[in-house]
Symmetry: C2
Subunit: 336 residues, 2 copies
DNA sequence: CTGAAAGCGCTAACAG
DNA sequence: CTGTTAGCGCTTTCAG
């Protein structure tokens, strides 16, 4: 069927080995022979069988990308960044959507490991402290890079923002806009959720403002949860005049709830999200948010992983922090 | 390193073949032996080496999913549907984002074919008439299913809506809402773009309404293009009172342009999009749209492909049409 | 510089 | 029912 090295070798009257070496630019082969072989390869449109090659080299040039939710455009953008960097190097990216479920994630990672991926990039849905999966990866010497969500205790490579800073940045902005009763719709119990909450607390504390428990509502990561959490916050008395939301979808849901209640954004309640999803600008009220440079995260993680896969000895864990960037749109603009 | 069949065989004092057969539930093996083998496999946590297996079976259990844009949540949803169906069958899905570029698509498909995927699901960015890629797939006997965008002339499996019907449905709805000057922001020159335009024309013709060339603006597939196309439409005189947009992102951009011009949606101009992206409900004006059952498309395509990959002889091309469903929200509601 | 030998881990085909 | 033989297409090792 397809052309094999053997065919080319016989065709040219050389040995199979000569062909193999010529293909891979091995040094111990004469220029004329190499040229002759390469020329014939091109003519016959020879394509190396990577399966056969993998069998002996034990490398697949497959990389797993494990994400909580592809529908969240933040992660779709990360995926683009990863693919853009890795494909030119000959890697194929296999995406796994875990649906923000730690158990599913563990199974998916196992599948990818059985698939013999050369490395993994993971935005983990593991609750903090659940390190088994990563320990297993280390035992098996499979290089991996965490993105977006750092795992306390994991001696792993990480690329993403410092969530404390992100939370503090968003919250401080609300304070500057004149908000005095600032609430937070918090995310899941992963690093991002926990860190942003911590940043929110830190910013309030720094201003000597009180952190009221009833002002911390539990959303998750989707717009429907933001909608519900906001309805709950609207019941408090006095109600908040500013809300920092875990992410943009949650913020979009929150805005919907506020408008339905007959209140105005930002006049009655100012809103800030996080993630800068690409449609933020098109929402009911254009959404203020904190940009995390999703594409850069993907690209940086890809570069880091590629370095790990190259080097024989695992490099010491690197943490690359991307500075969060405030993007002010209408949803929080109360002062000029 | 990892446990191999050979290890288990020696461990149990049977031949390698016995182990191999037991694993795959071959019939000619006694129940006791099978049990003994399987038990030991579990104990040693044996994982078959799929690369070695692929080498001889010539199947990789890899499926390529080729999409124009992962950021468009319609396609992200399709991807979820595909993965949900295919993963339980042991397939791994490899997603390729072509950026709506036919050339990139061709290269990506080539890469996937070299990767020896067992099959492909493609929402193609090829301009109509560009069939080479598909002919090559057929020559190589690689089963594939087209989704979302049918290709005229391709004798291929297809899952998606009839775009003519979709366009007619949206346009008729605008007519029913009392719009009399209906414009269209058209998409790229792929089946969806062409078909929706045709449906738009058909609906107008059926009502004896004139199709004015200046009412057909060329958007592409992103919100920025919708924004620009709408600005152009606003220059026409008289300006349209209803616009059917190629897809939801385009519609979102159009709404932005209208509001910025100081006009109201839907009172001055009613808008309908297509695709029912998940955030449609959260936009400036909640967006009326035509739902295409993205997840169902993904799942159905996956099932169809899986059938093709199973059967030895290629089944005759099947076309599965999913009925488009109108979702009316505020952006087009002018009458109760 | 070139090539022969050995084998990666598994399965298909057939022999006992 | 069990096992033997012969590869899949390639690379690694080592001898010419």
């Amino acid at each position: 069927m397809a052309v094999r090295m053997k065919d080319i070798a016989e065709d040219l009257g050389v040995s199979l080995m000569t062909v193999s070496k010529a293909l891979r630019n091995h040094s111990d082969i004469s220029q004329p022979t190499r040229d002759r072989v390469l020329k014939r390869m091109r003519e016959l449109n020879y394509q190396p069988d990577w399966i056969a090659r993998s069998m002996v080299t034990r490398r697949t040039y497959l990389v797993g990308l494990v994400l909580p939710d592809l529908m969240h455009s933040f992660f779709a953008e990360v995926a683009k960044g990863v693919a853009r960097k890795l494909q030119p190097l000959g890697y194929q990216v296999v995406i796994s959507d875990t649906g923000e479920d730690g158990e599913v994630e563990q199974r998916q990672v196992e599948v990818l490991v059985n698939r013999k991926v050369d490395g993994l990039i993971i935005a983990s849905a593991q609750r903090s402290g659940r390190l088994e999966m990563f320990q297993a990866l280390e035992r098996n010497k499979i290089p991996y890079v965490l993105i977006d969500r750092m795992l306390a205790g994991a001696e792993a490579h990480y690329v993403g923002v410092k969530d404390d800073d992100l939370g503090a940045l968003a919250t401080s902005h609300l304070i500057q806009q004149g908000c005095r009763r600032i609430a937070h719709i918090r995310g899941p119990a992963v690093a991002t959720g926990v860190g942003r909450l911590r940043g929110y607390r830190r910013a309030l504390a720094r201003q000597g403002m009180e952190v009221k428990p009833e002002y911390i509502a539990s959303g998750q990561y989707g717009d429907n949860t933001g909608y519900e959490a906001m309805q709950q916050l609207l019941q408090t008395n006095p109600r908040p005049d500013g809300v920092f939301c875990y992410n943009d979808p949650v913020a979009a849901g929150a805005i919907k709830a506020i408008l339905e209640a007959g209140l105005r954004v930002p006049e009655d309640i100012a809103i800030v999200g996080a993630g800068n999803v690409h449609y933020s600008d098109l929402l009911r009220v254009p959404l203020s948010t904190v940009d995390q440079s999703s594409t850069a995260i993907g690209e940086t993680a890809a570069e880091l992983l590629s370095a790990c896969m190259q080097s024989k000895t695992p490099p010491s864990p690197k943490r690359i922090f991307i500075p969060p960037r405030l993007v002010v749109r209408d949803s929080s603009r109360r002062r000029e």
